[in-house]
């Protein structure tokens, strides 16, 4: 360094900082210090290596992009779809999935539009939820959750013949696929429902009040299976105005269930009344039981209407009386 004219170079006094800059004698470094230095060096070298690798990869990708952009996608698209695995909690099968998805043969794995394929599955109505996933190298995994039907309904497409549809607990109307006949025939029909088409014309709007109907069906199926198996239809016509469900069955022509009361108590009362009526002789078949009314302070007076009794020679006809069902 050249000094300015008239100003001598002054020697800087020795400072402790010179000690820090001096090389450290080998024997002064403690074993723990050596380990620490090795770890630190390793960390630095590793960091530099990762940085270099990332830079090189970026550079290679950039070069590939510059030369032929299609090559970047090519490796992913090169594997075609070969297998579709299918899992469900219901009755649909792999063949149905194949027909519904309608994936052209030879389609590449990366060319699959999973969202559109999922929409195709959901469009059937029978599928509540679907999960599709690519399982490389060549498999599409499909997992679906199906709806549980609780009733059936007859409706007709415009200009078509009447068809039977199934209805689930949420009121979704869908054509049941692959259900065994023995299951479908046990489902009661819905009556008194005006089905509305959805705006785009594909399918029907959900049936309102199906949650209540499903509760009644579930209770009856569990506690009075014999009587329930002879139920024909459940009418929702009086559900909104009166809060009652009207059931037509082979045993009792008309059964009226109130929705404001517990269904369990009502089906128990129904079971009692039918048993009592069958035990009595000289009375006609029961025409109607209205379980939605009849509660009094001392118990429950349920109006039961009987049909004409078969004539018994030499005995006067007995007038039908309201049945008394004891609570508890």
């Amino acid at each position: 360094m050249k000094a300015p004219p008239g100003k001598p170079i002054r020697q800087r006094p020795a400072s402790w900082e010179d000690l820090v800059r001096d090389p450290l004698p080998r024997r002064v470094m403690a074993p723990a210090g050596r380990k620490r230095r090795a770890f630190s060096t390793l960390r630095t070298v590793g960091g530099i290596a990762i940085l270099c690798a990332a830079t090189w990869a970026g550079f290679e990708l950039y070069r590939m992009w510059e030369a032929n952009p299609a090559r970047i996608k090519a490796p992913a698209q090169s594997g075609p779809l070969k297998t579709i695995t299918f899992q469900t909690n219901g009755v649909l099968d792999r063949a149905w999935a194949g027909r519904t998805l309608a994936i052209p043969p030879g389609t590449g794995m990366m060319a699959l539009d999973l969202f559109s394929l999922r929409d195709r599955l959901l469009a059937s109505g029978q599928v509540r939820a679907a999960v599709l996933a690519r399982e490389f190298p060549d498999t599409l995994s499909v997992v679906v959750e199906e709806r549980d039907p609780v009733a059936r309904i007859v409706a007709s497409e415009p200009g078509g013949a009447p068809e039977t549809f199934l209805v689930d607990r949420a009121g979704i109307v869908y054509p049941g696929i692959n259900y065994p006949r023995s299951l479908v025939t046990t489902l009661p029909y819905l009556a008194g429902v005006r089905l509305r088409r959805v705006e785009n014309g594909a399918g029907f709007a959900p049936v309102e009040g199906m949650e209540t109907v499903a509760n009644l069906i579930g209770t009856a199926r569990a506690y009075i299976p014999a009587l329930f198996s002879r139920w024909h239809s459940i009418s929702l016509a009086r559900l909104a105005p009166d809060g009652v469900l009207v059931v037509r069955s082979a045993d009792v022509e008309t059964l009226v269930f109130g929705t404001r009361d517990d269904f369990f108590k009502q089906v128990a009362q129904l079971d009692f009344i039918v048993d009592e009526s069958r035990a009595q002789s000289g009375i006609g078949p029961i025409k109607m039981i209205d379980l939605s009314i009849g509660r009094t302070v001392s118990g429950t007076q349920i109006p039961v209407t009987y049909g004409a009794a078969p004539p018994v020679p030499g005995q006067a006809r007995r007038a039908p009386a309201p049945a008394r069902a004891r609570e508890g």
Binding site: P13, A14, V20, A30, G33
Partner: protein, 404 residues
């Protein structure tokens, strides 16, 4: 780790214990202490490393303890406390005539006067530890920052602290042996003085005395700056040693007697009042005169303060230290130490207290130095960075275009 967060360690290698704190500095402003560790000292006598291996093992154990308490957070640079009887200081001042025709002080004038004041050669085998600047005097007036003020003669003084080259190297090598870099070597007295005195006290004049186990460090503040520092190789262990000799006790017994009954001034006038050595009435237990214990400790404490007062020399006068004496360090926990200091110096004296922002777990006089290392070190590095940034602004680049 983000570059906006800096992790720094502070280490004090004391004669009785080694303390380590880890601080996290966010954006150069807020300091959080995230870890602390300590270890009983080995291989250190009166602040000097006498057994490198033993001292290294103890320091490294304390560092690992601190890193463990900080959740495994490692640090690479260290603020290291420096003490020891080999540290000496001298005062040197220089003055220059302001060069500009309009008598406005420029950065060049400041650089010139600083260079002249700090350029004094050191004796052989000595190394610079600190150059503590006193306020500028511009035509005899005290000015904190002289740049762009008008005047004729600019004067500045430095208190230069230097130490024995080998002893400094031993201290630094203990840290470097653990693959850590010493980024600042800070006098223990400056570190602890920063923590226990307030800016107002430093402005009006105060003496901070840190009585450690092996050494006693002191700093004399005037006009807001440290104007004199020193370290004497006498500390709390000497009180223990005096009790060993005077009462024929082992070192452990003497240490126990010191902490239980030692005092800075004599409070027990009854010479027949006894205290039991162990208190278990077993073989070896014996009564000791309480007055003797107090006499021995108080004499040594008074002697320490006398030595400090003598070391301050002509610089010290009661008029210059209006805020009195503040005492810290492990030995300051003996009752009556402040009264002894007040008697010797003829000034009000108190035991140092930490600022309110210090965590409850660290409010122990033994942590004063290591806490001060973090705060003083960060302040000084920030000030240095600001000064060099300002210097760059007025450096050759600006001079090159000055004509234009």
């Amino acid at each position: 780790m983000s570059s906006k967060i800096q992790t720094i360690g502070a280490i004090e290698i004391g004669s009785s214990k080694i303390s380590v704190l880890i601080g996290e500095l966010s954006r150069g402003r807020s300091l959080s202490i995230i870890g602390k560790g300590w270890c009983q000292s080995h291989g250190v006598v009166k602040g000097d490393v006498v057994d490198l291996r033993a001292a290294s093992n103890a320091v490294h154990a304390a560092i690992l303890d601190a890193e463990s308490s900080a959740g495994g957070q490692r640090f690479d640079s260290v603020f290291l406390a420096q003490t020891g009887g080999h540290l000496k200081g001298f005062y040197n001042e220089a003055s220059v005539n302001v060069q500009r025709a309009d008598n406005m002080v420029t950065q060049m004038d400041i650089d010139n006067v600083r260079e002249a004041a700090t350029g004094r050669d050191l004796p052989a085998g000595r190394m610079l530890v600190h150059n503590i600047q006193r306020p500028f005097l511009l035509d005899g007036r005290i000015v904190p920052d002289a740049e762009n003020l008008k005047g004729r003669v600019l004067k500045v003084g430095y208190w230069t602290v230097h130490g024995n080259q080998e002893r400094l190297a031993n201290n630094i090598n203990v840290i470097r042996g653990f693959n850590l870099q010493v980024s600042e070597l800070i006098l223990s007295s400056l570190a602890s003085g920063t923590m226990v005195t307030s800016p107002e006290e430093r402005q009006t004049g105060v003496i901070a005395i840190d009585i450690g186990a092996g050494t006693t460090d002191y700093v004399f503040y005037r006009a807001g700056r440290a104007c004199m520092t020193g370290a004497i190789p006498v500390g709390g262990l000497h009180l223990t040693n005096d009790l060993c000799i005077g009462l024929r006790l082992t070192e452990g017994q003497a240490e126990k007697m010191k902490t239980r009954f030692g005092r800075g001034i004599i409070a027990t006038r009854d010479k027949n009042e006894k205290v039991w050595l162990n208190g278990d009435f077993a073989i070896g237990d014996r009564p000791l005169p309480k007055n003797s214990i107090e006499l021995i400790t108080s004499l040594r404490v008074a002697e320490i303060f006398e030595v400090v007062k003598t070391s301050l020399g002509a610089e010290f006068s009661t008029d210059q230290a209006v805020s009195g004496v503040v005492i810290t360090g492990g030995t300051s926990q003996l009752p009556g130490v402040a009264d002894a200091a007040a008697t010797v110096f003829g000034l009000p004296a108190r035991i140092g207290e930490f600022p309110g922002y210090i965590n409850e777990q660290l409010r122990d006089p033994g942590y004063a130095t290591v806490l001060g290392l973090l705060y003083f070190g960060l302040n000084s590095t920030t000030a240095t960075a600001a000064s060099s940034a300002r210097r760059r602004k007025t450096g050759w680049w600006q001079k090159l275009f000055a004509g234009a």
